[in-house]
C-alpha cells in the first residue's frame, strides 16, 4: 500500500519491542499526573495565599518552568539531579522526576484557575458558617475547584501522555522508542513512525472522546 509495508508488525515485535515502552509511557503519565496534581495544588495554594514568602517562590517556580521547553528541562534534570542528590539515577527515573516537577507547574495553573473560578460568594458562605481557612479550602473550595477542572486536568493528561515521547532525548525507552527500535532493526523505519502515529492517535482520541462525554455529563449536572 502506497509503497509502505506494514506487515512487519506482528505480535512478536509488539511483545518484544513495543510493550515495554508502552508500559513505561503509561506509568510515566500516571505518576506525573498524580504527582503533578498534588504538587501543583500546593503551588496554587501558595500563589493564592497572599503571603509574599510563599507567593514569590511559587510564582518564580511556575513561571520559570513554563518558559522553558520540556526537552530542555528533561536534559537539565538528567544532568543535574544526580549531582544534587549525589547518587546516580537512570533515564527512566530521571524522566519521572522531571515530569512530576514540570507538570506541577502546568497543573498548578489549572488548579489556580479552578480555585479562582469558585465565586467569592461560596468562599463567604463557608466562612459565614464558621469554617476556618483550612476547613473551607478542604471541604468547600478544593472539591469544587477540582470537580470543575476535571475535564481540563484530563486534557492536560492527554498532552502529558503525548509529551512522554520527548524522553527519547535522554534515551529512556518509551512507546515511540519501542516502535523506532523495532523499525530500525527490521529495516522498516517509515512504517514504524506511521504505526506509532496511529497508536498515539487512537489512544489520545479515545481519551479525549471520554473527556468530551464527561464534560457533557457535568454540563447536565450543573
Amino acid at each position: 500500500m502506497l509503497g509502505l509495508d506494514l506487515s512487519f508488525l506482528n505480535w512478536e515485535i509488539i511483545s518484544k519491542f513495543v510493550m515495554n515502552g508502552f508500559i513505561f509511557s503509561i506509568q510515566l503519565t500516571v505518576i506525573a499526573t498524580l504527582g503533578g496534581i498534588v504538587l501543583g495544588t500546593l503551588l496554587a495554594l501558595m500563589r493564592l495565599s497572599g503571603r509574599q514568602v510563599l507567593m514569590v517562590p511559587a510564582t518564580i517556580y511556575v513561571n520559570g518552568m513554563r518558559s522553558i521547553p520540556l526537552v530542555m528541562v528533561i536534559l537539565w534534570f538528567f544532568l543535574l539531579v544526580p549531582t544534587i542528590i549525589g547518587k546516580p539515577i537512570g533515564a527512566e527515573l530521571s524522566a519521572t522526576i522531571t515530569f512530576v516537577a514540570f507538570e506541577a507547574a502546568y497543573f498548578s495553573e489549572i488548579m489556580r484557575a479552578g480555585i479562582q473560578s469558585i465565586s467569592r460568594g461560596q468562599v463567604n458562605a463557608g466562612r459565614a458558617l464558621g469554617m476556618t481557612y483550612g476547613q473551607n479550602m478542604r471541604l468547600v473550595i478544593l472539591p469544587q475547584a477540582f470537580r470543575n477542572m476535571v475535564p481540563v486536568l484530563l486534557t492536560q493528561t492527554i498532552i502529558l501522555f503525548q509529551d512522554t515521547s520527548l524522553v527519547y532525548a535522554i534515551g529512556a525507552y518509551d512507546l515511540l522508542k519501542g516502535f523506532t527500535t523495532a523499525g530500525k532493526i527490521y529495516g522498516r523505519p517509515e512504517e514504524a513512525y506511521l504505526l506509532a502515529a496511529v497508536v498515539y492517535f487512537v489512544m489520545c482520541y479515545s481519551l479525549s472522546y471520554m473527556v468530551k462525554q464527561l464534560n457533557r455529563r457535568i454540563a447536565i449536572i450543573r
Binding site: 518558559s67 522553558i68 536534559l75 495553573e109 492527554i158 515521547s165 523505519p189 492517535f201
Partner: protein, 240 residues
C-alpha cells in the same frame, strides 16, 4: 565544579565560535517559531470559526476532523511523519526542505489548539450577541466579521499568549529533523565541548528571554485592544 565560560569563544572547527553558532541557532528557533505562528494563526482562526458555524455541517465535520487529527498525535511523531513517511507516500514531497516541513508540522499542530481556543472564545460570547447581529439583518458572514470574531479574539488573547509561548518552546522539537536550532546546538555543543552546564544555562536563558518577549508583545496587544468598561473573565491555561 568550576565555570568555564570561555568555552563560548572556542572555535567549533569551521572557523566560527560557539557563541556565534548559538546566536545562529537562536535565529533558527525564532524563524521556525515565527513562520509556524503565522500558519497556525491563519488555519486556527479558520478551523475554529468553521466549528461554530450554525448551518454548515460539512465544514463543522471538516474542522472537527482537523482538530482531532492534529492534536491527538505527539508533535515529535507528527514531525517524523512529515519528514519520513509523507515523502515516501508522495514522492514529490522529498524535495521540500526540512524547514518547510517543520513549519507545517508545528503550524498544523498548533492550529488545532488555536482552533479550540477560537471555538471556545466564540462559544463564550452570549448567544444573544449572535441573535442581535442577525436581528439587525447581518448575514452569517457579516455577523462573524463585525460582531462575533472581534470579541472572540479579544477574549482569547490570554490563552493565545500561552499557545504562542508553547509554540516557541515546541520549536525545540525541530532539531529532531535537522533544524540547527537552539536545542540541537545545546546537544551538539555539549558533546563537543563537554561543558554541558554552561551551554544549557545559556540556551535556557535564550528560551526564557524569547518566551518572555512573546508574553510582553501579547500583553501589549491585549492592552491596545482593551475595550473601555469591558471586563474579560479569565480562562484556564494548560498545554505546553
Amino acid at each position: 565544579m568550576t565555570w568555564d565560560w570561555q568555552v563560548f569563544l572556542n572555535d567549533d572547527g569551521s572557523g566560527r565560535t560557539y557563541l556565534r553558532w548559538m546566536f545562529d541557532a537562536w535565529g533558527w528557533t525564532l524563524s521556525v517559531a515565527g513562520c509556524a505562528w503565522v500558519v497556525s494563526m491563519v488555519l486556527g482562526a479558520l478551523m475554529g470559526t468553521f466549528r461554530t458555524l450554525p448551518n454548515s455541517p460539512w465544514l463543522v465535520r471538516l474542522s472537527n476532523a482537523w482538530v482531532e487529527l492534529f492534536r491527538n498525535i505527539p508533535l515529535l511523531v507528527q514531525i517524523f511523519v512529515w519528514y519520513f513517511v509523507v515523502p515516501k507516500v508522495i514522492p514529490p514531497m522529498r524535495d521540500v526542505p526540512g524547514f518547510v516541513l517543520v513549519v507545517l508540522a508545528l503550524g498544523f499542530f498548533t492550529s488545532a489548539r488555536i482552533a479550540e481556543q477560537v471555538r471556545a472564545g466564540v462559544q463564550a460570547l452570549p448567544r444573544g450577541q449572535r441573535y442581535a447581529g442577525m436581528a439587525l439583518g447581518f448575514t452569517t458572514f457579516q455577523t462573524y466579521r463585525y460582531v462575533i470574531l472581534p470579541m472572540a479574539f479579544r477574549i482569547i488573547i490570554p490563552p493565545l499568549t500561552s499557545e504562542s509561548m508553547n509554540l516557541l518552546k515546541n520549536s525545540s522539537v525541530a532539531f529532531a529533523v535537522s533544524i540547527a536550532e537552539l536545542t540541537m546546538f545545546a546537544m551538539q555543543a555539549q558533546e563537543e565541548t563537554s561543558r554541558g552546564i554552561e551551554i544549557y544555562i545559556a540556551v535556557t536563558g535564550l528560551y526564557a528571554i524569547s518566551a518572555f518577549a512573546v508574553n510582553r508583545v501579547m500583553a501589549l496587544v491585549e492592552k491596545k485592544m482593551r475595550i473601555p468598561g469591558y471586563i474579560v473573565a479569565g480562562t484556564a491555561g494548560g498545554g505546553h
